[in-house]
């Protein structure tokens, strides 16, 4: 009897309960989306709305009289283009260094067991715990001595330090996901260790390595503190904008902010699958 009633009740419960849950889920999703997207949307409105758009009150939430001109004007401000180039150089070098140094470290962590492996893994992360502000003065002094001060190369070295822990740990999990047997098969069938890596491991790791590269790129692109203290004339875009925007009209600030946001958003969108994989959440 009880079994029969519960059988009757169950279908009803199984439709109401998940629907309430689904409602909660979607509310959460919408709230989180709004949290991220609404500010970006208003920055974009400001960036493309021009002087009038920024100061109009009450504010329209719909895109009215947008124009590309404010953005073009902003890009032609003296120094912006140079800073953009510097940013690209610094970010490019950061990508190069963090892959060149981080991927071998990740490979070693994934494939070999050695004494102090866990300590090393922790140490890699601890570099991020070191506040850059404390290092700023000694770094500036030594950079001046070494002739690295006020160069994109010098900035990229510091950015590499910031990106390297991620590069090493992300590539470690990447290489761990590639079975050792593939490599062993390659060795048996005539490959040296290096050839096996190039022919078998690298092609399989490439998507993940690309994600790591873009990650390093964004870290460098967004970093402002080190870039500001280590450069004077050859500023990166973030550092340059920080200086000029405080004395610029509001719509220029929006334009600058918008340009800075775009690469990060594009990056996260492009590599979201790999990030989930890194964090152990299946994307299926």
């Amino acid at each position: 009897m009880t079994a029969a009633t519960s059988k009757v009740l169950e279908p009803g419960r199984s439709t109401t309960l998940p629907s309430a849950r689904r409602f909660l889920l979607w509310t959460g999703i919408v709230a989180l989306l709004a949290w991220v997207l609404v500010p970006i949307y208003f920055v974009a409105l400001g960036a493309f709305g021009g002087r009038l758009g920024v100061f109009r009150w009450p504010k329209s939430i719909w895109p009215t009289d947008l124009a590309i001109e404010p953005m073009m004007q902003f890009l032609t401000i003296e120094g912006v283009f140079n800073a953009l180039i510097n940013s690209l150089i610094a970010a490019g070098l950061t990508v190069l260094f963090s892959i060149a140094l981080g991927a071998p470290a990740g490979y070693a962590l994934a494939r070999y067991t050695f004494r102090g492996q866990n300590a090393y893994r922790l140490l890699v992360l601890l570099t991020r715990a070191f506040p850059l502000a404390i290092l700023a003065l000694p770094l500036t002094v030594s950079f001046i001595r070494l002739g690295l001060y006020d160069t994109p190369f010098g900035v990229s070295l510091i950015h590499t330090v910031l990106a390297l822990p991620f590069a090493a740990l992300v590539t470690q999990s990447l290489f761990m996901g590639i079975p050792r047997e593939y490599e062993e098969a390659a060795w048996v069938f005539g490959c040296t260790r290096f050839q096996a890596f190039m022919r078998v491991v690298l092609p399989l790791a490439l998507p993940g390595l690309a994600a790591t590269a873009i990650f390093a790129f964004v870290i460098s692109w967004n970093e402002v503190f080190a870039a500001s203290i280590l450069t004077v004339r050859e500023r990166t875009l973030t550092a340059y904008l920080l200086r000029i925007l405080s004395e610029s009209p509001l719509h220029y600030r929006f334009a600058g902010g918008f340009i800075l946001i775009i690469p990060s958003v594009l990056f996260i969108f492009a590599v979201r699958r790999y990030l989930f994989a890194v964090w152990g959440i299946a994307s299926k």
Partner: protein
């Protein structure tokens, strides 16, 4: 073609001795199975032969060439891995061609040899596909074809069939035997499955605790196990071991007396379940039947001989009831006499 000599190979992992002075000779063209339970060192031995693991001491000689310190690629061998290790980013053709490409074979040569290996393993229809589109059995075939395409002097196989389902395993086993016979390659095959080893191998090396307990033809190992472990590991049901005392050339089991061809005190009698037959009049070794399991082709009787657990195989038509006491007659020449202390079979005097 090449023979393999494994000369007193020792492997230590820290303080753990995975292999203790293992020596083994595999003749040219021979198929030898390394059989043993997991953790007995069989895979470690295979990996040492392949060069994927370095021995702590000892030598590996392939075709008269000491390869002990050579990298895997210089040992002129091929290997089939347990999880196939078929490269997922290459087509079946490129997978099979991998070894040939590394040898820098000419384009025509590669095509000819890949097609021959593919035809042999019946994968010629899938050469353009990627491994992700293949079933487990097909991937296994690709792995074997890749190994055979390089025409290796020595082929190593590490539990190649263990990931296949039972039916496919039986089919691949038969096919593998035919293919390898044709190729005439010296093969070492690691497995924990005794039927695989018995069915495929010319000789079986039974490994236990980092040592080879016995090397011999399947029938030899089955009929005359060298140790208690070999007797218990090979055969289904496993060999029965019954403690007896020998005195003046006679062994007493219950009321029955057997001629005892060995000298010594504590002795175990190794008796295969199918080597005993039921006597019509209940004479012979007394056997108390506890459970009768009809298996179709035979009856499996579980019970006790002289208070000790034993399993006996009887013909399917035999009339035996649980709880009955029956008599067994045995052929003395098919018995194994084992020293209880050492666990080794004793020589007949």
């Amino acid at each position: 073609m090449a023979d393999i000599v494994i000369d007193r190979v020792v492997k230590e992992f820290g303080s753990f001795r995975a292999l203790q002075e293992v020596s083994l000779t595999v003749n040219d063209g021979e198929f030898v199975a390394l059989l043993g339970p997991s953790g007995c060192g069989k895979t470690t031995l295979l990996r040492i032969i392949a060069g994927l693991e370095t021995q702590s001491s000892g030598r590996v000689v392939i075709g008269g060439r000491d390869v002990s310190d050579l990298a895997p690629r210089k040992r002129r061998l091929a290997m089939v891995f347990q999880n196939y290790a078929v490269f997922p980013h290459m087509t079946v053709f490129e997978n099979v061609a991998f070894g040939l490409r590394m040898q820098k074979a000419s384009q025509a040569d590669v095509r000819r040899k890949v097609e021959r290996a593919a035809a042999l393993l019946h994968i010629d229809g899938y050469l353009d596909r990627y491994p992700a589109k293949l079933s487990g059995g097909q991937r296994q075939r690709v792995a074997v074809a890749r190994a055979l395409a390089v025409e290796p002097a020595v082929l190593l196989m590490d539990e190649p069939l263990s990931n296949l389902d039972a039916l496919l395993r039986l089919e691949m086993r038969t096919e593998l035997k035919a293919v390898l016979r044709e190729a005439g390659t010296t093969t070492i095959y690691v497995t924990h499955d005794q039927t695989e080893a018995m069915g495929l191998a010319d000789r079986i090396a039974v490994m236990y605790g980092g040592k080879i307990d016995q090397i011999g033809s399947p029938l030899e190992i089955y009929a005359t196990p060298a140790t208690r472990f070999v007797g218990g590991f090979i055969g289904s049901p496993p060999m029965n071991f019954i403690k007896v005392r020998c005195a003046q050339g006679k062994a007493q089991i219950g009321a029955a007396v057997l001629p005892c061809p060995v000298a010594g005190g504590d002795i175990e009698l190794g008796l295969r379940g199918e080597d005993a037959s039921l006597t019509a009049d209940g004479a012979g070794i007394p056997f108390d039947v506890r459970v009768v399991e009809p298996m179709g082709s035979h009856l499996l009787l579980t019970g006790s001989i002289d208070g000790q657990l034993a399993r006996i195989v009887a013909p399917p038509t035999a009339k035996v009831d649980a709880g009955a006491r029956v008599g067994l007659s045995v052929d003395p020449s098919r018995l194994t006499w084992i020293d209880s202390g050492t666990g080794r079979a004793m020589a007949r005097t």
